[in-house]
């Protein structure tokens, strides 16, 4: 499968819901969809275009644009094409349906994104802290407005 053909197919199927689609080089495919068409697009990518192996998932916080951009990195084992599937969610109320029913491998990455960025994955079976302590309630560390100053280690030996 050619990446340009894949972009054509996606644009014919979803039209305006595909916000950006590009293939800067061979074996790379960048697609940004609007968040209401995410699950259908993911199902189409898995079943029709053959992207079958989950590599990673995560997100980035953009406070000026007031969005959190989420990504899922999926690889196609038949065509050796890596797909980066992106979508935006509202920063104040970040909710997105989970993609673990389509690619089971993203479950733990979504759990990590939930704890570090505060994105709620609807339908995710196990949203519990993974890297942070079990009783963590001090906010979401990977958001840009998380204050690190209270955690700074003091200089010198204050025990004396």
């Amino acid at each position: 499968m050619n990446t340009q053909e894949a972009i054509e197919k996606l644009k014919n199927k979803f039209g305006e819901k595909i916000l950006e689609a590009s293939s800067p080089r061979e074996n790379r495919l960048y697609i940004k969809v609007s968040n209401d068409a995410l699950v259908e697009a993911a199902k189409y990518l898995r079943e029709e275009l053959g992207f079958d192996m989950a590599i990673s998932a995560g997100g980035t916080d953009y406070p000026k644009k007031n969005v959190i951009e989420l990504f899922w990195i999926i690889w196609s084992s038949t065509d050796n094409v890596t797909l980066i599937l992106k979508t935006d969610v509202d920063r104040e109320n970040p909710k997105i349906p989970t993609l673990r029913d389509i690619w089971l491998g993203v479950q733990k990455f979504e759990r990590e994104t939930w704890e570090l960025l505060g994105v709620e994955y609807e339908g995710h079976p196990n949203l519990k802290p993974l890297l942070l302590p079990e009783d963590w309630n001090e906010g979401y560390p990977l958001r840009k407005d998380f204050k690190l100053e209270p955690y700074r280690a003091p200089w010198g030996d204050e025990e004396k």
């Binding site: 942070l132 079990e134 009783d135 560390p141 955690y151 700074r152 280690a153």
Partner: protein, 163 residues
């Protein structure tokens, strides 16, 4: 592990040894200084350097330093590498399980002072949670430096200054 487990600083209790007269204490310390049996709490990238200590070149078993797998039979805990807040709960558990008298050695910048991550939300300093006997500076310290630190601890035990 329950999430309510406390993370307060552990104080060193005065052991039974304090009640004995000085010559017996000295004899006891002399014996202890030749049998430091540490457990190692290895969580970071100082560990490849730390592994050298028990290899053929540095071989700390010459001074009776025998790496132990059981907390109940060891008398020193060696922190090697960065300790996160979640990991510190487990480390305090290990520290509580060790019999008195016990010593703490901290190796590397991360465990000493958070090192290259001074603003980290996740790392903690070991000295906020327990009494530390020996710090070894470096990022990572060379095996010679770590061996020197452990020999310093041995000297400290021999002179009865630790704890």
């Amino acid at each position: 592990m329950s999430s309510q487990e406390s993370m307060e600083r552990k104080e060193v209790k005065k052991g039974l040894l304090e009640k004995f007269p000085t010559p017996i204490k000295k004899l006891f310390n002399w014996g202890r200084s030749y049998s430091i049996w540490p457990i190692h709490f290895v969580t970071g990238c100082c560990s490849p350097e730390f592994m050298q200590l028990f290899g053929p070149r540095y071989d700390l078993e010459r001074w009776g330093v025998l790496p132990m797998m059981s907390t109940r039979q060891s008398d020193t805990i060696i922190f090697v590498g960065n300790v996160s807040r979640k990991m510190m709960k487990r480390a305090l558990r290990l520290y509580e399980q060790m019999p008195e008298p016990k010593n703490v050695v901290v190796i590397g910048a991360c465990a000493t002072s958070k090192g290259p991550f001074p603003e980290s939300y996740s790392l903690v300093r070991v000295k906020d949670y327990m009494k530390v006997d020996i710090y070894v500076a470096g990022c990572p310290p060379k095996p010679e430096a770590q061996a020197y630190g452990i020999l310093k601890l041995r000297k400290k035990i021999l002179e009865g200054e630790e704890g």
